[in-house]
Structures are given as structure tokens and as C-alpha cells.
Assembly symmetry: C2
Homo-oligomer: 429 residues x 2
């Protein structure tokens, strides 16, 4: 099999007709499949069911001297100590630099950026500094970009490379004092699966942005979300920052959304002494405290970092075959046509598929009409605009393997069909 671009017009028309037939057959099945969001499947939810039994009323009967008794009442704004200890160890930061909040790290990021807007990140409130900008390594996480866009912060795209964001570009862009921050998913990045190299982490930590109140949202969402038995090494950002005296530049986030239950987990933040204090100053006005019983539930279920890590193997055992199924199908169906490239991530929740330039939207449309929902094309770029119209984020976690395979087969047909159309000079999108 040769690459598609070497095909004659006649051969392309033949292939297209064959693909169209396959496509129509799929369409006739009336499929309703979804590969759009990084949502754990029901088999993954089941491995956390024990969390629902981790605390019961009996925990509050046996021992009146047990300090967990108090967790039912108001107090402990920054979280319960046992929970802080586990996440401090996981993030390799001091306990005093950790805050445990509610169920959503996205909410913590939103609240932090809101805080910067209204009261500043150390200097003047961002709202009073005219048009400000954020660097958005892309493809990246749409919900990050949405926060900045909601507040009218200008999104500046930066290319993701296989070592992390294009640091030459970043170092140039931060000379603009209107650039106030950057979003990073440093491990198993959403959606490319890249883990930032030591050199990238060091260059980030060493940065001296023109804006003295520059803040990096270090969203370590996939910190232990491995798909193999080894974990990719990510350097501790706070160790790197310390070398340069830049500890205030980064706020780190993580959560158990893809460890325990999405929506009913615990979310965590780590930051410098100074940032922690500013965050507490806001939180103490915002709330009396977060759900400590749910924090305690997680502590009782996992016990320690080791407990969390061994729990993650259960997720890996479910997820790895799903990723493998998709990637195998890509290799078999697309491999030799030269119409697409894809990542083979060692962790995280996504496969990043690059189809032929100018065909991603058409692939999305064909899939949709065929019964498979993909992540909206462009979602992984600022303002939902993929300038090359080629990136598609694939989320293999939610469907069962058989459905996933069916969806991937259809997707492969659509990728090839759209490529044929493109090469034939047809404009269908």
C-alpha cells in the first residue's frame, strides 16, 4: 500500500467509492457512540465503589476521643491534616503548602484566576491592567482556555512539542508585560500525552517574565495516571523554582477526579507560602470550609500514597487495553496511507490524532453523521480554532472496548474518506 497522496485520480475515486460503501454500512447501524470527553467508563467507576463504604456512622460511635468526630462540623478551612499529608507526599511539597478543597480542581483554578482578576496575584488586580494575555500551549485543554476567555483574557497559542511547550516561543512571548500567565498540563499532557522534560521544567522555572505578577497554572491532572507499569518522570516544579527563587510563579493543582469518582473526589492545590496566604485570605471570606467528610472518606479508602498508586493499577488495567485497541486500529487502518499521525501515550486520558491538514472538521462531520461523537474540532486550540484544521482529540476511556473498536473503525474510514475528498479537490466542509 502506498501513501494516498501518490494515488492517481482514478485510484482515489475507486478507493473513495469503496470507503463510501463501508461508511454507509456503518451509518445504517444507527450507532450512538461517544469518544468526546475524558470520562472514566463504568468499569472504572466500579473499582472505586469501596469509597462509598469507607466511612459509616460506626466511625463516629466507637471512640469519643477520635478527632475525626469534628469532621462533621464547621472548621478546618484548608482541609484535614491526614488528607493534606497524603497529597503533600504525592506532590513532594511541605504539608503547609497544600490546601484541600472541594470536588473540582477546575473550580480551584477558576477561583484562583478570578482572585487574580479582582484582587491581583501580588501586584495590581488584573482587571485594572487593561488587556492581559495568557499563553496557551496547544493542542491543550479546552476548559483551561474557556476560563481565560470568560474573563476576556487574550489567549496566545504556543506550539506543544514532544518535550513540552515550545520554550523558545514562550521565552520570547513573556517579554510582553501584558502576558500574565500560562496553562500547563506537565504530565501526560491533555491531549498529546507529552510529559515535560527536565530541561523544559528547568527553563520554565528559570523564566523571568516582564510581568512581575505572572502566574503558571500547573495542572498536574495526570500525575499518577500511567498506562504502563512505568511512570514517566516529571521533575518537581517547586524544587526547580527554588533554584531561581521563583516559587511564587507557579500554582499547582491536582485532584482525584480520575482516581476515585469524577465529581465526587477531592481537589488539591500547592503553592508558595506567599500564594497560599493570599489564597487563604480569599477562601476565609468565600466559605467556612469544604467537605471534610469526603476528604476523610478518601483518607480511609486509600490510607496513603501507596494505596492510591496501587488503586491506579486497577484503572491502568482497564484503560491500557482501550488505548491499545484504538492505536492498533489506527496502525492497521491508517498506517500506510500517510493520512494521519497519532500519539502513543504512556499515560493520561487522550490520544491526539492529526489527520490530513484541512480535513479534521470534515472527519468530525462524517463521524457525527455516522453515529460517533468526537471532541469538537478546534476545542484543543484557543478560541476553538485549529489553524491547520487537523487535530482531533480521541478519548478512549468511556466506551466499552467493543463499542470503542466500532467507533474507531468508523473514524478510520472517515479519516481516509475525507483525505480522498481533499486530494480530489472536493470541498465538503
Amino acid at each position: 500500500m502506498a501513501e494516498l497522496k501518490t494515488y492517481s485520480k482514478e485510484k482515489l475515486l475507486d478507493l473513495k467509492a469503496a470507503l463510501q460503501e463501508e461508511y454507509d454500512a456503518f451509518k445504517a447501524q444507527g450507532l450512538k457512540l461517544d469518544m468526546s470527553r475524558g470520562k472514566p467508563g463504568s468499569d472504572q467507576l466500579a473499582v472505586s465503589n469501596g469509597l462509598l463504604d469507607a466511612i459509616t456512622s460506626r466511625d463516629w460511635e466507637d471512640d469519643a476521643s477520635n478527632h475525626s468526630l469534628e469532621y462533621r462540623n464547621y472548621g478546618l478551612l484548608t482541609g484535614i491534616i491526614e488528607c493534606k499529608e497524603i497529597f503533600a507526599k504525592l506532590l513532594k511539597v511541605p504539608v503547609s503548602n497544600v490546601i484541600i478543597c472541594g470536588n473540582s480542581s477546575l473550580n480551584m483554578m477558576f477561583d484562583y484566576i478570578t482572585q487574580c482578576m479582582l484582587t491581583g496575584s501580588g501586584a495590581e488586580p488584573w482587571k485594572d491592567q487593561g488587556e492581559i494575555k495568557f499563553l496557551c500551549p496547544c493542542p491543550g485543554y479546552d476548559r483551561h482556555f474557556a476560563i481565560a476567555e470568560y474573563y476576556g483574557i487574550k489567549l496566545i497559542p504556543v506550539d506543544m512539542t514532544d518535550t513540552g511547550p515550545d520554550m523558545d516561543a514562550v521565552e520570547e512571548l513573556i517579554k510582553d508585560e501584558k502576558v500574565k500567565g500560562m496553562f500547563c498540563v506537565p504530565k501526560y499532557s491533555n491531549p498529546t500525552g507529552v510529559t515535560y522534560t527536565s530541561e523544559t521544567v528547568d527553563r520554565i522555572a528559570a523564566m523571568t517574565p516582564a510581568a512581575k505578577d505572572f502566574r503558571i497554572i500547573w495542572d498536574n491532572a495526570y500525575i499518577i495516571h500511567d498506562l504502563t507499569d512505568e511512570t514517566e518522570k516529571l521533575d518537581n516544579i517547586f524544587d526547580a523554582l527554588k533554584k531561581y527563587g521563583h516559587e511564587d510563579m507557579v500554582i499547582e493543582f491536582t485532584s482525584t477526579s480520575k482516581i476515585s469518582f469524577p465529581g465526587s473526589g477531592v481537589a488539591v492545590l500547592a503553592a508558595s507560602d506567599r500564594n497560599i496566604q493570599m489564597i487563604i485570605d480569599r477562601m476565609s471570606v468565600q466559605t467556612i470550609g469544604y467537605d471534610k467528610l469526603n476528604q476523610f472518606r478518601h483518607v480511609k479508602f486509600y490510607r496513603d500514597v501507596k494505596g492510591i498508586k496501587s488503586h491506579m493499577k486497577l484503572h491502568k488495567n482497564i484503560l491500557a487495553p482501550k488505548f491499545k485497541a484504538v492505536i492498533n486500529e489506527f496502525e492497521t487502518q491508517l498506517g500506510k496511507y500517510g493520512v494521519a499521525t497519532w500519539t502513543k501515550p504512556k499515560g493520561g486520558y487522550f490520544i491526539s490524532l492529526d489527520v490530513m491538514e484541512g480535513t479534521a472538521k470534515r472527519v468530525y462531520q462524517l463521524c457525527k453523521e455516522g453515529g460517533v461523537t468526537l471532541t469538537t474540532v478546534g476545542a484543543t486550540f484557543p478560541y476553538g480554532f485549529d489553524p491547520k484544521d487537523k487535530n482531533i482529540r480521541i478519548a478512549p476511556s468511556y466506551p466499552p472496548v467493543d463499542e470503542l473498536l466500532t467507533a474507531t473503525k468508523l473514524l478510520c474510514i472517515c479519516v481516509k474518506l475525507a483525505a480522498c475528498e481533499k486530494l480530489l479537490g472536493e470541498n465538503n466542509c
Copy 2:
């Protein structure tokens, strides 16, 4: 016994000496008692322990068609339907006008005011309208005032009367278009225990503030928190608003913080279609969703409004004797001296004690040195400043009855001691 102000100097000195002796005896006990916060006691927490067993892993095993299965995953931004139905019934509003969030209604208020600051409540963002103001019926809830103060909103005090806020004053003040809103605790108000009368609710609903983007934070925190077998009637604010076409003017809040567990309950918001949509627009950027399992836990535990109401009788049975103990002690110890007045609330969490003008801070100080922590004097007023230095908020819920009685006895001594000092022209504070 005559009123203290009719005492001769000699008689005052005698009384003071006797009180000082009593005071010193208390102080020698090394007490550590707290009447400062509206925090449920451990006996109250115990009545909700069943909530900890309301959902277990078995709920996710029996029936694969059960839609609650999905509650473990992402989704349902505005809350689960069963929970919305209960609170819609309780608040007497349509289900579509209800949002269930996380564990804290205070957090929902903070987020709403933040939203108004950054994106507006319907007109220009509040941050862009120069110095804005909020009306603060007082004595009132310190945490309300703190939110506005945090954002630099000017706090305008309005007197609380026994029918609600002084509406003549309110109607005058809202002619200023810089006045953007008002805080209200309409039932069993914190701390005076007043429930707004029908006339007050109607006058509030009828208001036509100069500011078109005026918003009332209607914090219905004590909606069913009765201390007797009858509930004080509060008119439905949305029914009243409808009469005048003013539905957009009010955002109502409530929570189960003092129904189930403080800090691990569910918080609820009700608003007009237009406001709900603006709030959802923000929430959809802020988070993927709140803790639906905790919402489901509450649904399973209470089942319906009737279930919540019968649960509240358990709280009443614990709280009513505490309130009675404090009020009895006030009557016995302070009754005839004419040095204080106090409320006899039929619900809520507080007794509002007015001591002799200019002595509240001194009473606080004496109590503190004697081992009893009271709510900081002034906390119930904007900027923490009680212009008459006379109001003390008493929170009887937390200590066991015996400790509460001890603390109240000391408090009564301090109230009289401070009054003696004042009448003798001593200045101790």
C-alpha cells in the same frame, strides 16, 4: 430589686464588689467555654449520623438500569433531579429555577457577588461602576458583610426592626444608583431572630431601586429551623416579586448546613429564569459539576420535604432547652436591673443581647478573661463597628447545657459588672 441606674454610688460600689468576687471565683475555675459561633453541638451532629450510611456500594450493584449509577461520573452541572425536586418544594419555586451546588451556600453567595463584580448582574460589571454600595440590615451576619467588604463594596447600615429591615430607610437609600444590593436573612434573622412580616416582604418586592442591576441576597438559612412546634410564616419572596414583575431582583439561598452536617451538606440557590441562565453560564466555565453523590446521599436520607421537617424536630428538641436555659438565666440574673434586653427567638441559632450602651466591648473583655469566648463585639455590624457598643450575639447551640449555663452565669455577672463600672464613670475599655 430596682434598676441599676437608680442606685446610689455607694450601693453601686457594694454591688460591684460583690460581682467582682463572683467573677473572680469563676475566673479561678480556668473555664474554656465558647458561645461565639452558630455551630451545632455534637448531640446535633449525632442525629444526622444516618446520612453516613444512606448510600453504600450496594446501591451501585443491584440494578444496572438505575440512573443513580451515573451520579458517580461527570455531568449534571446544576444538580441531580431528585434533590432539586425536594428543594423546589421546600422553597416553593419551580424545579427549573433551582440549582444545587456544593456544601456551602456562603460560597454560592460569594461566587454570585464575584460574578456581578466581574461580569455584571445584568448591566455593566460592578467593577466598572466606581464605588458601589450594599445595604446591610444590622445587627446582621458578619460573613455577608465580609464578602462585600472584601470587594471594596461600601457597607451601608440599616436598622433591623422587629418586622425586618427599616423599610423607610431602605426605600430612601435605594434612590442612590450606586446602591447595588442588600443582604437579607428573612427568617429567624441572624442574630435578632426576626422573621420579616408580610408587609416587609411586599415592600421589598415592590422596590424600584435607581440601580437597574440591584440584587438582593435572600439568605433563607433558617427556613425550617424552628425552636417551637410552630413555624413563623414567611411569605414566598418570588410570589411577591411576581406581582411587581421584579423576579430578577432576588437570588435566594439555603443549605442543609444546620440540617445535616455543617460543611458536608448541600447548598441551594433559587432565582429567576434570567438569573439562573447567567449563573449557569458562569458555572459551566467554573466546574464540570458539584458532588452529586452527596446530593444523592441527602435524597436517600431525607426522601422528601416531610423527611427533612421531621428531622428538624430532632434538632429542635436539642436546641430549644439550650435557648431556654440562656433566656431563663438572663431573666433571673439581669431581669430587674434594667441593664440589658434580649430576644426570645422562635427559631434560628442566635439570641441577640443588647447590654448597656457603651459596655459591650467591656463585657466581651471580661468574659474572655473569665474563660468564655463571645462573638466579637461589632461583628454583627458593617466594618465590625457597633456605633452604640451594645450588641452581643449569643450562640447557644454548641456547648452542652451544663457548660452553657456556667457560661451564661459568668456572662450575666460581666454584663452587670460592666454596667456598674459605666455608671460609676470608670472607663475600662
